[in-house]
Symmetry: C2
Subunit: 328 residues, 2 copies
């Protein structure tokens, strides 16, 4: 794959950041305001699209819909939209672990949001060992991304109440895994570093493998997926801030492409129901899915091969896995 | 009831606060450090206890256990401990709605914590209309009380992982309601204003009343309890901060003795399972329980009478209920 260029709507420090990395920047709309601000851009969005086979559309939510009309003018151009758009925009919602194959040949697909991606990863991984009967998911959302100093919630809990119960996450998971029974609740906390999930997973033993549900077998099942990182309290990783610190200082630029599950939080209650705490890096966990999504729509290679290649490129499943998780 | 006095362990502004209200202050330990700091105290804890029939022990957790040895020297003196102590200290954990009667004659009882009190109130109220089969509770805890400027969590989610799954709240609810099936997960968010609960409540219709579970019947059931306040998003009460603001400026000194349930968050999923968002004022919701607990151990009056009297004294179920909840 070759990165042809990126677009910017605002003339700010992120243009410098791209240029510093040798990435060509194109303007959304008129180039003049970039020139007025002292930035040189390579041209407009239309000039960029002429040279592209695929677009990863990372625009703010609902703008993807407008952009699709533009992309439609370029025969053969395909686009990957993000979770801020509705499922109905593309009619196909994607997760590497769940439906890579059926994405083949699609012109438009949507990678689900960071929280839904995390839920799909954990649930599909557990469903392979234990048949999942019902999931109750709660989501403690960061109220703003790291750079959004103009936004945020101060010193309060803001429940997602406006759209009623369940929160949209439950139906969003079902756009990828239609057979899963899931219900959800969510809210925003005054923080920027990662989302937290608290999950209750009702499951039955899988008769094919005769599995028994214990904290140990659940941890073993989760470890089969390189995009799930078991982190340990015994390593001092007591909060999302510690996780971000570890991944900021060790070659990852702060990106946790993996979904993090606290090993010591995994347990089974007296009904055999599984519980656990999960941490999700909002800007990072969908990055591997977007890379796989490009290969999926063009049928470049099978799912296992793409996932392994993406993991190798991003360093998923390497050194930091051993740092974060205390092995026996 | 007559307040004989309060104790203080530290010579700080809270002594002035008590004196300003005409409340007598006694020293825990040596009186000298109060005198050195320019405060006058009435005497020591032992001098206070000589004049008391009952103590409400609000000392930091685990100190209650030490104090019980002191209280034991005063025949007939009874004590109400708080949720920071273990159930085993008193062998009896109390909630006004659940077990007022059986508290009669007990020398030592424990009022469960703010979060457990809230869970007991909501669950017992719903259990009266719908038979509760299982509760999955998640708790987004404030990381420090309002005055604890030396404490708190900064910009991170801190899951309660150390004690595994379920969190202690599930077993704590069962110290009051032994028959309830409940599991729980909890963590701390960077905020001081109230705790948030996200609840999934599996229930069957109660055959005796032929009830049907809908958002409306759940809201109606909750409204039967004056200590549960339905608050409305339509009133602009979008966060715990807005709730605290409303109760700070209208004769309540910021105290929400009620457990607050967001009306619009109440819903029923496709399995008929109930979901809702709840807000709990950490320092206030156990105050009515402590007052009732004193009457309960001395058998001063029946539960309904005590609850009504406490509610009237504290203004529970009055004006603010109409402000917070949008009626049809």
């Amino acid at each position: 794959m070759e990165l042809v260029g990126v677009t910017k709507a605002t003339a700010d420090y992120k243009v410098d950041e791209a240029h510093e990395k040798g990435i060509r920047v194109f303007s959304v709309g008129n180039c003049k305001r970039f020139e007025d601000a002292g930035y040189s851009v390579e041209g407009s969005l239309n000039e960029l699209l002429q040279d592209c086979n695929a677009v990863v559309d990372c625009s703010p939510k609902h703008i993807g819909k407008e952009n699709m009309a533009v992309y439609s003018n370029y025969p053969g151009l395909r686009a990957i939209f993000q979770g801020g758009e509705k499922h109905e925009l593309t009619g196909f919602s994607f997760n590497s672990d769940c439906n890579y194959g059926p994405a083949a040949g699609k012109r438009w697909i949507r990678v689900v949001s960071c929280n839904t991606t995390a839920l799909c990863r954990v649930i599909s991984t557990l469903n392979a060992s234990f048949k999942v009967r019902k999931v109750r998911a709660t989501i403690v959302r960061r109220s703003a991304d790291q750079a959004e100093s103009e936004k945020s919630v101060l010193n309060a809990w803001v429940p997602d109440v406006g759209h009623g119960f369940p929160s949209h996450h439950a139906s969003d998971v079902r756009t990828v895994m239609p057979g899963i029974n899931i219900t959800s609740l969510a809210g925003e906390a005054p923080m920027t570093l990662m989302h937290g999930h608290m999950l209750f997973i009702e499951a039955g033993n899988n008769s094919e493998n005769g599995g028994t549900i214990t904290a140990e077998t659940v941890a073993e099942a989760l470890q089969q997926n390189p995009r799930i990182l078991l982190c340990s309290l015994q390593k001092g990783l007591t909060s999302t801030a510690k996780l971000k610190d570890l991944f900021s200082l060790n070659g990852r630029n702060g990106n946790l492409y993996e979904v993090c599950v606290w090993k010591e939080s995994i347990g089974v209650d007296s009904d055999g129901e599984i519980g656990m705490h999960v941490a999700i890096d909002q800007q990072a966990d969908v990055v591997p899915e977007n890379i796989d999504a490009i290969r999926a729509v063009f049928s470049t290679m099978p799912a296992e091969e793409s996932i392994a290649l993406t993991n190798a490129s991003l360093g998923i499943g390497k050194m930091l896995k051993n740092i974060a998780y205390l092995r026996k």
